[in-house]
């Protein structure tokens, strides 16, 4: 197990280097010079040259990349072009908000998704099952930038029961502030979860062990908790780990709507200003998150299902 873990952690290094390489060159391939983003319509060749020198953009690309990598190895992730400050501090102080938002959305999706899936699976083909399918299809189709605004209007403006901007002062206040953004993200994640969970539950319901259990006269509740839910945990983990990228996309948009100081909102602003250092830092953080969630998913498989060999 420890050997496995060490191996997986070592694999992070080439993965992250690969990602840094792709991101580094990809953002430089986008047309639009950071100097022009900074200087706008008045970018004279002299000013552009001065900005390029200041930002180190006058060096050949391979040297810029080499500098970038060697700086990272020394713990220096670079300076933001726009803010002229260290991007590590800039991005890192935003990580807790983004992580809290994503976790909250996952918890909400599970809290809503599991019972809904059980109802849909045990009442297959009934009106309830059809209604769930219909509602979730609609929920999946609703764009989050629209749903976020509607939720903000409903709960923040009309009912005035939940805050609609900022991340609060910590503790319960933060939970309140993150509720509407988390619902916005969860409303898109839940349908995906239910779709997978429902089919896997149906499979378990039709399995020999459940039929035997039924024949033995085991209580429905016992069957549900011991057989169905345990067996359904794996698809939950799979769905969430596969959709981690989707979740990140959701936070980027939702943070923007609810003015949350997260990594996503920082990333959006930085793309427009071609703030390479921030884009690189934020992308690396998200990439790290994806590989870590995948590792955690593999470890969890092992814990909930002893048959899985690592």
């Amino acid at each position: 197990m420890i050997r496995y873990l060490r191996g997986r952690l070592l694999q992070f290094i080439p993965v992250l280097i690969g990602i840094s390489l792709i991101v580094f060159f990809l953002i430089r391939l986008i047309p639009g010079d950071p100097a022009i983003a900074l200087l706008g319509s008045r970018a004279t060749p002299e000013l552009i040259k001065r900005v390029h020198e200041q930002l180190g953009l006058d060096l050949p690309l391979w040297r810029q990349y080499f500098h970038y990598l060697s700086n990272i190895a020394h713990g220096d992730f670079g300076m933001s072009f726009f803010y002229q400050t260290d991007v590590w501090t800039l991005a890192f102080e935003r990580v807790p908000t983004t992580l809290a938002l994503m976790s909250y959305a996952v918890v909400l999706s599970i809290l809503a998704g599991v019972p809904i899936s059980i109802i849909a699976a045990t009442r297959r083909g009934t009106v309830a099952d059809e209604a769930i399918r219909f509602i979730l299809t609609v929920a999946l189709g609703v764009p989050s930038f629209w749903l976020g605004i509607v939720l903000a209007l409903g709960f923040g403006v009309v009912l005035k029961i939940l805050p609609i901007s900022g991340a609060g002062e910590g503790g319960f206040d933060t939970v309140r502030h993150l509720t509407l953004p988390a619902i916005t993200i969860a409303s898109a994640l839940t349908p995906i979860l239910v779709r997978t969970l429902r089919s896997s539950l149906i499979e378990v319901l039709n399995s020999d062990c459940v039929t035997t259990g039924r024949a033995m006269g085991l209580a429905r509740r016992y069957l549900l908790s011991s057989y169905l839910l345990r067996n359904s945990l794996r698809p939950v983990i799979t769905v969430i780990s596969i959709n981690i990228g989707y979740l990140i996309g959701g936070t980027v948009i939702t943070e923007q709507i609810f003015s949350l100081p997260g990594v996503g909102s920082l990333l959006i602003g930085s793309i427009a200003t071609r703030d390479y250092a921030i884009i690189q830092m934020a992308t690396l953080l998200f990439a790290l998150l994806v590989v870590m969630v995948n590792l955690a998913a593999d470890l969890l498989y092992r814990i909930i299902d002893p048959r899985v060999q690592l």
Binding site: D33, L38, Q84, I164, S165, Q256
Partner: protein, 519 residues
């Protein structure tokens, strides 16, 4: 010249227009905010804006949020008068300009202190303004004839010019001529842009990047009793809808950049809307190097097919007036009677017939992604042009890329918005008409007649004679069809009813020293 939000207002010597402009801040649904009540002290005003600031150093400032924040934390020798028509004292109490226009002396206000309690001195003024007029600074071009800024004595600062320079006072009222503490600047070195020290009504408390800038009352402010607010917070809320919703919920007290289509929603919720007319102009730049745009007839055919009335009504939902000159209507020396180009398809056809391409042509037009109004302008224009055999190929391009295409002259037609940073026309006319300037735009329009008029107007100290020169220049733009304009777009703000005393002046300064909250 930041090509997005704000600024300007008001014309010299144009009584009819001035009446319209003085009606300035129109309020919907109720009566304009009367300052009948006595201001009360205290409270925090949270202002929602589209983006974060970049820096507090005017030397490197490029973006509008930074410009407007600098206007709040710093002060300048002079400011635009409240009516937008003249210049009023700020950190200078008086000034004299020599008859030859080559020397200007400013007497400094005494007893002014920075936030930290240190007194403002002539050295601080000279230090700040010497950086402002430095031709290497981002805005040095606004002061190009200024040769030197020197201290005469502890109370007096002198400007010397290489030639008479009519726009000096308006240039000194811009954010670029902000005055800050020399000692503080030198203490912070290359981090000075993050650590300002000014004499403005509000001092910087914290800057949480990408989130908010928190300003608090300057305890040493020289205007007794002011400011009224304890603090002002500039919060970044990039999404237009989110700003409106957060105003309605009370999270924000005031919002900037309100889209016209949200005005009804805001007023019906009981909030207050402010309009500042004539501060921005829809601006269409042509690359005169790309055929057939080098042909006057082809250009005029394009120009006469622009239906400005429809654009003002449909695209800006009435929150704009059809433009009648390349100069925004609020600019000094604006003249709407210089044969403005108006919509006339017959004339467009006639111009096309006399051009090098009588059977029509196809031309690319760039529109920045996400600017719905520019796209709508292009679509309305394309529909009209299709009727006379001209195909407009609309390309939506990401903003920075579109700007790069203009700067590298790899474009044919570019639609954007122009805002003057000073009410003096020299800035816009200089970059569009003076093709030899290092700050010339990228139109490749080379007219010596236009260039000479710009230079003559810059040197002309007599307002009446300057008006003649600028009227001539505006007429030339129209007869040459060199640059196109669409509509003077209103600048729209919205606030909660409790917000009193908010009246952005013609330069767009937010004036928080006069703002207070009604309980």
């Amino acid at each position: 010249m930041a090509k997005q939000p704000f600024k300007v207002v008001d014309g010299y010597g144009l009584p009819v227009l001035n009446c319209v402009l003085m009606a300035g801040f129109v309020l919907f649904g109720s009566i304009a905010p009367a300052i009948a009540d006595t201001p009360v002290k205290g409270g925090t005003l949270v202002v929602g804006r589209v983006a974060d600031i970049n820096t507090f150093d005017p030397y490197n400032t490029q973006d509008d949020p930074s410009i407007f924040t600098e206007l709040t934390v710093y002060e300048r020798l002079v400011r635009l008068a409240d009516d937008g028509r003249g210049i009023a004292p700020e950190l200078a109490t008086s000034w004299t300009i020599s008859p030859d226009g080559l020397t200007a002396d400013f007497t400094l206000r005494q007893g002014v202190k920075f936030w930290d309690g240190t007194p403002l001195t002539a050295d601080d003024v000279v230090f700040s303004l010497a950086r402002a007029v430095d031709q290497k600074s981002s805005w040095g071009f606004l002061f190009s004839p200024v040769k030197s800024v020197t201290k005469v004595d502890d109370k007096t600062v002198r400007f010397q010019m290489t030639e008479p320079f009519a726009p000096l006072l308006t240039a000194l009222s811009t954010f670029a001529a902000s005055i800050y503490s020399k000692a503080n600047f030198e203490k912070w070195g290359d981090q000075a842009g993050n650590n300002p020290m000014g004499t403005g009504a509000f001092a910087l408390k914290s800057w949480n990047r990408g989130r908010e800038v928190v300003l608090v009352r300057n305890p040493n402010y020289w205007q007794a009793e002011k400011p009224y607010l304890d603090s002002v917070v500039f919060r970044d809320v990039g999404d237009d809808n989110a700003r409106t919703v957060q105003l309605a919920s009370g999270d924000l007290g005031l919002i900037a950049n309100v889209p016209a289509n949200q005005v009804n929603q805001i007023t019906s919720a009981g909030d207050v809307v402010f309009r500042v007319p004539g501060t921005m102009i829809g601006f269409i730049e042509l690359n005169h190097k790309v055929p057939p745009l080098n042909d006057r007839g082809a250009r005029c055919a394009l120009a006469y097919a622009l239906d400005r009335k429809s654009i003002a009504k449909v695209v800006y939902m009435g929150f704009a007036a059809p433009a009648l000159s390349l100069m925004p209507a609020a600019t000094f020396y604006y003249d709407p009677n210089t044969d403005p180009i108006s919509y006339d398809l017959e004339k467009a056809k006639a111009e096309l017939a006399q051009s090098a391409v009588p059977n029509g042509f196809t031309v690319n037009v760039n529109v920045r992604n996400g600017t719905a109004s520019d796209l709508a302008v292009a679509q309305i224009w394309a529909a009209e042009l299709a009727k006379i055999g001209i195909t407009l190929n609309i390309q939506q391009i990401e903003a920075t890329t579109a700007q790069q295409m203009v700067n590298s002259e790899q474009y044919s037609i570019d639609i954007s918005t122009w805002t003057n940073d000073t009410p003096d026309p020299d800035e816009l006319m200089g970059v569009t008409q003076d093709y030899q300037s290092q700050d010339a735009d990228h139109s490749n329009y080379h007219s010596d007649e236009a260039r000479n008029l710009v230079i003559a107007a810059r040197k002309e100290m007599d307002p009446a004679k300057r008006q003649v020169l600028y009227s001539k220049l505006q007429r030339l733009v129209n007869t040459d069809c060199s640059f196109f304009y669409t509509a003077n777009e209103d600048r729209i703000f919205a606030a909660q009813p409790a917000v009193q005393g908010f009246s952005p002046n013609s330069q767009g300064k937010y004036n928080f020293e006069n703002v207070w909250l009604k309980h």
